[in-house]
């Protein structure tokens, strides 16, 4: 079960209380969107779940396991950043394969997973390109593909549509939801946004 439980989560940056007593239960396969104005703590909450920010107080559990002190690589989480954070010196294929290589996956297994994800997202023709040769929508799909190939328990999306135009954002929002719900593995998804789309 990929259940995410957040209990009494707090984050302070010196005098600023950025996240105040957040409690949240995300069930397996549930798609949750955190909506709020800028500066309300959405990204900070997401970053604490990912392990990129330390927790001032509170607990985060994934599948009944407290992950407060686990490094990001051990949380079985994939994250798509607002600016996609694609590795500029690597091709699309290498961007998607990077996480699997770090986890010592077999080369054939890596190729199969990357091809599968590329087919789902319609980017199989872009695998040899570098990120600078892609449009915004294509980059977003590559970032999504990089998350999908790992088959993580939890997906985190930090304002992934904010850099896209309305039409592209709508298509990408649809494809991101549907491309991950086809997985056989227990998964949960959490997304932050300032807008209602």
């Amino acid at each position: 079960m990929a259940q995410v439980i957040i209990r009494s989560l707090n984050k302070r940056f010196d005098e600023v209380h950025a996240v105040k007593d957040v409690n949240l239960d995300i069930r397996d396969k549930e798609f949750v969107v955190l909506v709020g104005p800028s500066g309300c703590g959405k990204t900070t909450t997401l970053r604490m779940v990912a392990g990129l920010e330390s927790i001032t107080s509170g607990r985060i559990l994934i599948d009944d396991r407290v992950i407060n002190n686990l490094p990001p690589m051990d949380r079985d989480i994939a994250m798509v950043f607002q600016n996609y954070a694609l590795y500029p010196h690597m091709s699309v294929y290498d961007n998607m394969a990077f996480g699997l290589r770090m986890r010592k996956f077999d080369r054939d297994d890596i190729a199969r997973r990357v091809q599968e994800a590329a087919e789902i997202l319609g980017i199989h023709e872009l695998l040899r390109r570098k990120p600078r040769q892609l449009s915004g929508g294509q980059r977003q799909r590559v970032a999504l593909g990089r998350a999908i190939v790992r088959h993580p328990q939890v997906f985190l999306f930090d304002e992934p549509l904010s850099n896209l135009d309305a039409n592209c954002a709508s298509r990408c929002a649809w494809s991101s939801k549907n491309s991950t719900t086809g997985s056989a593995r227990p998964q949960s998804m959490s997304r932050t946004t300032r807008s209602r789309r």
């Binding site: 990912a50 392990g51 990129l52 490094p71 990001p72 690589m73 949380r75 989480i77 994939a78 994250m79 950043f81 600016n83 954070a85 590795y87 500029p88 010196h89 990077f98 996480g99 770090m102 986890r103 990089r146 790992r150």
Partner: protein
């Protein structure tokens, strides 16, 4: 480009540009002309009727031949190359790791430490060579390449660290965070993600370190004494200036040939060098 009348372009662009280029390149031209000018013309008085300071009608390669056969110039070039490459490698290695730590890691007094490292760069070499000479003597490293290989990093590492700090700060931290979520340790994220992106900055720091090492004079003069251990700057000036006799032809030939490796390095990497100074990485 200057818009408007043609005279404005000449007055505000072409003439100043020409003057700047002439002033910049004239020393190299003078070096070249002196290298190929025969001795008879070199030592001709300025008020002689056939005095032609800016060109020669009888170029010769005698000075270059004498430099290569009568002196240990080949050995000096080899020594300078080995010392510069080794000192650059050590400084780049330390500067990369220190620059990454100071710009990416959060630990107490990181800012103060970075400032202190930079301040050490401001201490003049003409002051530092005195205590360093004592250390070199105690460790019996005098008159050997190791005296320079181990002392040059004292001013190269602070410079490389400072340069790399600025460059690493321009690389979005999301790239590294994404790598860590993908399963990379901090070391792997640094090696596989940050360093490849920072190659222009690394090349820039390397070029600077190489140039500073190649042209360094005071430490090489103080720590090296045997002719076969000297570097090009020290060898050329100490062996080709005997008392009050200046062998100008050989001196200029040594300066010309000694500047070729640095010009070679710059010409290959100048695009990366300029990019690292003027641009920034966009995620």
């Amino acid at each position: 480009m200057i818009e408007g009348a043609s005279w404005r372009r000449w007055v505000f662009f072409y003439i100043p540009l020409t003057a700047f280029i002439v002033a910049l390149l004239f020393p190299f031209y003078w070096m070249l002309v002196t290298t190929v000018r025969p001795d008879g013309e070199l030592y001709r008085p300025w008020n002689a009727p056939n005095y032609t300071p800016f060109w020669t009608m009888h170029p010769t390669l005698e000075h270059i031949k004498d430099l290569l056969t009568e002196t240990l110039f080949g050995t000096w070039m080899f020594n300078t190359m080995v010392i510069s490459i080794a000192a650059t490698a050590i400084s780049l290695f330390c500067g990369l790791l220190a620059g990454y730590a100071l710009s990416r890691l959060k630990f107490p007094f990181a800012g103060s430490l970075g400032t202190m490292i930079f301040i050490t760069y401001l201490v003049p070499q003409t002051l530092l060579f005195i205590p360093l000479a004592d250390i070199i003597r105690n460790f019996r490293l005098g008159d050997s390449p190791w005296a320079l290989i181990l002392t040059y990093p004292t001013f190269l590492i602070p410079f490389c660290t400072w340069l790399m700090m600025g460059y690493f700060k321009s690389i979005p931290k999301e790239l590294e965070e994404c790598a860590r979520i993908d399963g990379a340790t901090r070391w792997r994220a640094m090696v596989y993600i940050i360093f490849p992106i920072a190659v222009p900055g690394i090349l820039s720091a390397g070029i600077f370190a190489f140039t500073l090492s190649w042209n360094e004079f005071i430490y090489a003069l103080v720590f090296l004494s045997s002719p076969d251990q000297k570097t090009v700057p020290v060898g050329v000036t100490s062996e080709l200036v005997r008392g009050d006799v200046f062998y100008w032809g050989e001196l200029m030939a040594g300066a010309l040939l000694g500047s070729i490796p640095v010009a070679f390095v710059y010409s290959f990497f100048v695009e990366h060098y300029v990019a690292s100074l003027t641009g920034s990485v966009k995620g």
